[in-house]
Point group: C2
Chain length 119, copies 2
């Protein structure tokens, strides 16, 4: 299935990437992939970021910034890349803080039309 392939591919092709999830803004995952040996609660993380993305989208629209396409969050422990697919869906990639930011952003961007075509 294309969603599984994209989730896996995104993780395996980016240095430092550990997990990926394609998710609805309602918190229901379409597909997810965790690198072997990684122990994180990806679904909980996804749900929290789904909420944040909705919150961020509301704010950016209210100040006339238009639709939110992408959000990247760097924390002490992770780099989290979020890319909006449609008003209902997004894809998230979790990397270690020193992961390849540019390639992660690029792969998420090019995954959007592929995912959209299957929705």
């Amino acid at each position: 299935m294309i969603f599984e392939e994209i989730a896996k591919d995104t993780v395996e092709r980016v240095y430092g990437a550990i997990a990926s999830i394609i998710m609805g803004r309602d918190g229901i995952a379409l597909s997810q992939y965790l690198k072997e040996g990684v122990d994180i609660d990806l679904e909980t993380i996804g749900i929290e970021y789904a909420n944040l993305l909705s919150e961020i989208s509301k704010v950016t629209e209210s100040i006339g910034s238009g639709v939110t396409q992408e959000v990247n969050i760097l924390t002490d422990n992770y780099l989290i890349l979020l890319r909006s697919i449609s008003p209902e869906y997004f894809i998230a990639l979790v990397l270690s803080p020193d992961g390849n930011f540019g390639k992660g952003r690029y792969l998420l961007r090019v995954s959007v039309p592929k995912i959209k075509a299957e929705l």
Copy 2:
């Protein structure tokens, strides 16, 4: 004053950058700079993103991601780069969507110790 210099320097040295603000999480600006001819309500944008940054920080800490260092938001109309300076302060850079993302991130990162030294 160093804050003014950093705010101006960050905007003038990055392709596509239009405004910069150094702000407290309480919404009070230490310094801001707008490129000539730019008409945006930087203080309102700053306050909205101050709130978002606090919201994002709460979520990332609650899921064990540690402290939020950086948030980048790409919308239809702007690219907004936020960098945490301390638990109380952050710096924001507003660019056009095609602005130089990498250089913006870099200049914000290196500005942090300079700003911290003056707080």
